[in-house]
């Protein structure tokens, strides 16, 4: 019998993330515009709103004491940001036009040389760079550092930043989003109130902009609540990366395909690796694998460790030292998985939360920034006299559809799906799609839910290298290198079935890069095993949501504290 993760849905319903306002009106925190998530999208929206207030102070005055508030669940802006990252500067140039030049932003310079390699266990074959992957003129960055910079910029423009604050429920009143409720703090493991308990608050806003990033907690609930889901489901990939201090500079950006992934169609292993120089002293190396894979023993963390043992990679890292580690999911459904609409009454959705990612180009940061900027402008239009809020917010959809985001994503809309047919067939089809600028094939190929892929058992884990603490590392020391020091005695924020077939428990245990899940004993006659959890290890990558569970926000300030990722 084949098992699918979706056969064991989590004890969670999207309606749990939606509620009516509950605080008395005089205890509510009233803000003008509320943005959830201090990532590239949310920060761009905040900065644009700050600029508009600066340009039209008389209009801004109508927004009250707190014109723009920005919620961030991490310890500080940037704490939960992780990406490659090679950034297309286009959207930042638009955001800062006439105000700042790109030289003032924390980039590690433009991409110089670049190589795309096809790896086998021992060899590396240089292949021509696919046109979608050409990075000429793009800039290398740590998105965590970029986020910190943008947050300072936003604060200078008068934006109120609220870090360590989760957005727990979307407040809906009379069919309209009126704000969010923030999460409680200081609860014990069983949910009891500890000595430092602080209840969450209702934050009421004229417009709420959700920029929660991948696996957005409220974004998912909003898509359900307002019937915004598109025709095809979203799919994700999991990326795990490390930042290394190296003795000799790396002179190029490297992408790899092939080993350690397997090309066979039945495995459904789509992904690759990236190695980028961050100045002369740092190198970042990461592995990304689509979560439509089937093998219960596949572990992206361990594949990254295996990748580093390749002679080509060893040469880059030799004599170096790992300084940081992190993991995060990436929405990969692209154009066909986009929502029907990007707005609802009182609500705008942007960035990775709605899947604005170009998989063949390995890019999404500039789409996040552009969508944040466009969302800010639509929100601002609600202040224009004689324009209804509904009409104003609807202009966001029009602006997105006529932006470069839309053109880019439409052109590559069927590429990711083609790789479900194995590496070689997928590669050939992707080539044809590029050559035809997306006109071939004419229709849309459907995506399939990651959790609907039936599981496959292999002995893959036996080939992963044993951690030596120098080049290769185990998961626990990696969690330490993420800066995670989450309070252990808080309520579990991960919703999964805790009695499942052994295959599914093993899938989760191997998949999770932070060693949250452990396979327990078979404790009954039904052959199911217990799943044990260590939730404070969680780095909030979101993979569990793609594979049959549900990540909800833990207490604000929990999770990794990335600085260089």
């Amino acid at each position: 019998m084949s098992i699918r993760p979706s056969d064991y849905p989590p004890p969670w319903s999207p309606s749990e993330a939606v509620s009516a306002p509950s605080d008395p009106v005089d205890e509510r925190i009233d803000v003008g515009f509320l943005i959830v998530g201090a990532g590239p999208a949310g920060l761009a929206a905040a900065i644009r709103l700050g600029q508009l207030i600066e340009e039209q102070p008389e209009v801004g005055e109508r927004l009250g004491d707190v014109p723009v508030a920005l919620l961030e669940k991490g310890k500080a802006p940037g704490s939960h940001l992780l990406s490659g990252a090679v950034v297309n500067p286009r959207a930042l140039q638009r955001l800062f036009r006439g105000r700042r030049s790109l030289d003032e932003l924390p980039f590690y310079g433009p991409v110089g040389a670049e190589s795309v390699l096809f790896l086998t266990r021992r060899h590396a074959l240089r292949i021509p760079t696919p046109p979608t992957m050409v990075n000429h003129r793009n800039l290398i960055a740590s998105v965590s550092q970029l986020g910190r910079f943008l947050a300072e910029e936003a604060e200078e423009l008068g934006v109120t930043l609220l870090p360590e604050t989760t957005a727990e429920t979307l407040l809906v009143d009379g069919g309209r989003v009126v704000g969010v409720r923030t999460g409680d703090r200081g609860r014990g493991r069983a949910g009891e109130e500890l000595g430092n308990f602080e209840p969450g608050s209702d934050i009421a806003a004229r417009v709420t902009i959700l920029a929660e990033g991948t696996q957005g907690h409220l974004t998912g609930a909003a898509l359900e609540r307002f019937g915004l889901r598109g025709e095809h489901p979203q799919v994700w990939a999991l990326g795990v990366k490390e930042v290394w201090k190296v003795p000799k500079p790396l002179d190029r950006v490297v992408h790899t395909m092939g080993w350690p992934l397997r090309p066979g169609k039945r495995y459904r292993e789509f992904g690759g690796s990236f190695v980028y120089p961050m100045g002369d002293e740092l190198v970042t190396i990461g592995m990304v694998v689509g979560l439509d894979y089937r093998d219960t023993e596949l572990s992206v963390h361990d594949l990254l460790q295996e990748l580093k043992t390749h002679p080509r990679m060893r040469r880059i890292l030799e004599g170096g030292e790992r300084v940081q580690w992190g993991a995060k999911t990436i929405p990969e459904g692209g154009f066909v998985a986009l929502p029907k609409r990007f707005h609802a009454p009182g609500l705008l959705l942007c960035g990775d939360g709605v899947g604005l990612v170009n998989v063949p180009a390995l890019k999404g940061i500039h789409y996040a920034i552009e969508s944040g900027r466009l969302a800010a402008e639509a929100a601002w239009r609600t202040l224009e006299r004689g324009v209804s809020a509904r009409t104003a917010l609807a202009t966001y959809d029009d602006a997105l559809r006529s932006s470069f985001i839309w053109r880019d994503l439409r052109e590559v809309r069927n590429m990711r799906q083609a790789f479900g047919r194995g590496f070689y067939v997928g590669g050939a089809l992707a080539g044809a799609m590029t050559a035809s600028k997306g006109r071939f094939p004419p229709g849309d190929s459907a995506t399939e839910l990651d959790a609907d892929q039936s599981l496959l058992r292999t002995s893959r884990a036996s080939s992963y290298p044993a951690p030596d603490g120098k080049l290769t590392f185990d998961k626990l020391s990696s969690v330490f290198a993420s800066g995670n020091r989450t309070r252990d005695d808080q309520p579990n924020h991960l919703r999964v079935r805790t009695r499942v077939p052994r295959e599914l428990a093993e899938l989760w245990a191997h998949m999770c890069p932070a060693q949250v899940y452990e396979v327990g004993e078979a404790d009954g006659d039904d052959g199911l095993v217990e799943v044990r959890l260590a939730p404070s290890n969680c780095v909030q990558c979101g993979a569990i949501t793609a594979k049959g569970g549900r990540l909800t926000p833990p207490e604000g300030g929990s999770g990794p504290e990335y600085t260089l990722t």
Binding site: G469, L476, S477, F480, R485, R487, D488, R532, A534, S536
Partner: protein, 308 residues
């Protein structure tokens, strides 16, 4: 030369070990004893000890202590006030820093009269820390210092008590103690810690027996606290307590870095684990590869025999 005052926190008729460590660390430092009926504790510390003794200072509340220390610093011209980490010390130091507009560095492991040293980035490096304010306030990390050699007659001086009106607003309603046998893990010279390798919660009795024989306290790893085998108050590690006893005996503990950062300051680390590849053997002073269920009872017996 710095003129340094050390806050001598006391509990149940004895000055806390940590505070004595700070006093011994800084040459010519003076002490401040604040409380009610504490005069006798000032003897034999071999330095100047200010005694601020008054009924109004009986309860261990921070604000009255901020008042008397602030006055002492201003009247006597102290430029440095040092504390040993505790809940009360953190409250008093923070209040004093605000009152004197002084900078506060915490987690110190060293102080040279001018600058301090403190671990940073989750203990991966030790950095120099300094002050830009006129008065320096610092909190030493728990277990960072030995009590060292203190002795000789004290020069006991009295200081007046003048409390601000707002400082008596808070009163102590009740003081409760968590049920505990033997010393707390922050104060113990010997710690016996148990990990998943104990096999089951009942086997913590092995650790308890050995700790009792050695006159020490019992600690636990996150994994076993998570599993509900032992209370959170005994958890040592990154997200638990940081300890630095003279002897740390690790039973069935693999030694993940999250645990290591909470106990790596221990003087002697002894590890008993059946897995020869466990990371703890890389930083233990003495490693025993074997079955703790056989070894520990025998060890306990030997310790008892030796002690009796």
């Amino acid at each position: 030369m710095a003129k340094t005052l050390v806050f001598l926190e006391h509990h149940e008729g004895a000055v806390q070990k940590g505070a004595l460590g700070v006093l011994a660390k800084v040459p010519d430092a003076h002490g401040a004893l604040v409380g009610s009926g504490v005069r006798a504790l000032a003897n034999g510390l071999g330095t100047t000890v200010w005694v601020i003794d008054d009924d109004s200072l009986a309860a261990p509340l921070p604000q009255p202590r901020v008042d008397v220390l602030a006055k002492l610093v201003r009247d006597e011209g102290y430029d440095t006030v040092l504390f040993a980490q505790s809940v009360l010390a953190a409250d008093v130091a923070a209040g004093l820093a605000a009152r004197l507009e002084a900078g506060l560095n915490w987690g110190l492991v060293d102080f040279d009269g001018e600058n301090g040293r403190a671990p940073a980035l989750q203990d991966t490096v030790v950095v120099d820390v300094g002050w830009t304010s006129d008065v320096r306030i610092g909190i030493f990390r728990a277990g960072a210092l030995d009590a060292g050699e203190l002795g000789g007659p004290s020069d006991v001086r009295d200081a007046a008590v003048e409390l601000e009106s707002f400082s008596s607003l808070a009163t102590m309603v009740e003081q409760a103690h968590a049920e505990q046998q033997g010393p707390s893990i922050e104060e113990a010279d010997v710690i016996v810690a148990g990990g998943r390798g104990l096999g089951q919660p009942e086997n913590f009795s092995l650790a308890e027996e050995l700790a009792k024989a050695l006159g020490g306290a019992v600690a636990a790893t996150r994994a076993v606290v998570d599993a509900g085998w032992y209370p959170y108050s005994a958890q040592v590690g990154q997200t638990g307590k940081t300890v630095a006893p003279k002897l740390y005996v690790a039973l069935g503990i693999s030694g993940a870095i999250q645990h290591k950062v909470g106990m790596q300051g221990s003087n002697v680390i002894v590890a008993i684990n059946k897995d020869p590849n466990a990371p703890i053997f890389e930083f233990a002073d003495l490693g025993v590869v074997g079955d703790l269920h056989e070894i520990v009872p025998k060890l306990t017996e030997l310790v008892r025999a030796r002690r009796s």
